[in-house]
Symmetry: C2
Subunit: 247 residues, 2 copies
DNA sequence: AAGTGGTCTAGACCACCTT
DNA sequence: AGGTGGTCTAGACCACTTT
């Protein structure tokens, strides 16, 4: 009658426990977990069971395994991760590392849209960052970013003067916030006056508009980003695959 | 000195062999593979080794496993697959099953761009299909599709009268062509006269332009598709994740 | 040499589906 | 009841890294 699962594989339990400890920061990025044998002893299961848990975590990008060395928590600046969240290439398909010019940094009250997407309780303080990203020497992306101030204590003080270009790396190092995934919603819109000025295109030029919500290891929204992009020389690349439902 | 791998795990060999037989059509979509024990005996390895190979194939979407039943080759119309290749939702994030109106079907010589992307040897015959896709009752996507005639024998005869809406399902059932993955390149462009007419928008309206190259199980290009989309009421959704490099 | 993860095996038992 | 895949274990050996 009851529809309880009433059964939970040991390796799933171990995986969940490990995930919780990773999210809680037991092993900061760049450090190594205990060995399989140590974890197996600690959890009272066989090594093979721990191995299965760790392999699933590996396939989800939560840990990295190195033969002969051990199992580590990945850091965001590792090559593995950057291009998972930066999907721009030029027309020939070559990726491109962007540079940034910050146009505005300001603390303000979140409006309704920002409050909704970031799942804030009410109209809390957010840090608003506006910057232009440069690809192949061309101003290409006009970006507006909102960060809940509560999650990034004293962030204003960190961002005076030079501003980090690779934000997700900065979030992890300074605030222990790891971006685990992001949802994007892409549309085409006409350039407004600000876009035109910052991107050096005529008003009305078709731009690719991306709304991105980035989530941390607990699936909590930690960043909202609006990007408006000139696609004369670059484009947004995406690969569609069949792979598993459980990934 | 030589950099040969000089080592190849058994389960990888088994996986490659199985992939080859799947691609060759030994087990058509919807049919079941031999059991683990049968495959283990056939390949002269243990059941655990075959299991590991099959589990990797599962995570890549190449097979589906059902406890108590067996291991099957997925069919494209299974719910699992359609929305992997159709990323449109309305502004509230609700997915939408599109309908199609075919505007043009014609055999022609491939131009340089089509030849290049489809990796044709020279300017071979391609079937050109133009259709408008309707979302929520609104003409939303103006689509132009190129198929190499060599891969779709007598396709002209199949497409008179009614035309299949879910093309990839049709490719698999009629031509044994399974779409395994696709690469998309997304830009923003202004609506031309044809777009304006078919999508009922003013000329110059910003459209989302997608070039998609679809590949079969052998990674051979089998379809080139240009979509031009109104994003007033809908958008292209994409999820960015960390997951594994080997997926 | 010692420790790590990676592969491979063999066997036991469980959960699910079909007959 | 018998077959399938799913979980769990224990042990052997291999490949890689570090000491």
């Amino acid at each position: 009658m009851s529809d309880k699962p009433s059964y939970r594989p040991l390796y799933q339990q171990a995986k969940q426990t490990l995930l919780g400890r990773i999210a809680a920061g037991d092993w900061p990025p760049g450090t190594f977990l205990p060995s399989e044998t140590a974890l197996a002893k600690e959890y009272g299961v066989s090594q093979g069971t721990i191995r299965k848990a760790l392999n699933e975590l590996t396939s989800e990008g939560r840990v990295q395994r190195f033969q002969g060395k051990g199992t580590a928590i990945p850091t965001f600046d590792s090559d593995l991760h950057f291009y998972r969240f930066f999907l721009w290439t030029n027309l020939e398909g070559k990726p491109n590392f962007p540079s940034s010019q910050v146009m505005l940094v300001r603390k303000e009250k979140a409006n309704r849209e920002v409050t909704k997407h970031l799942k804030l309780e009410s109209e809390k303080d957010v840090l608003r960052i506006e910057r232009v990203r440069v690809l192949d020497g061309q101003a290409a992306i006009n970006e507006r970013i909102y960060l809940p101030c509560a999650l990034y204590p004293d962030i204003e003080k960190h961002v005076t003067g030079t501003f980090p270009n690779t934000l997700y790396d900065f979030f992890q190092k300074r605030f222990s916030i790891t971006i685990a995934r992001a949802m994007e919603f892409v549309t085409a819109e006409a350039a407004n006056a600000t876009d035109a000025k910052r991107l050096d295109v005529p008003e009305g030029t078709p731009l690719l508009a991306i709304r991105r919500l980035a989530l941390d290891l607990h699936d909590k929204p930690v960043e909202l980003r609006f990007s408006r992009c000139v696609t004369a020389r670059h484009g947004y690349v995406n690969e569609l695959k069949l792979h598993s439902f459980r990934g």
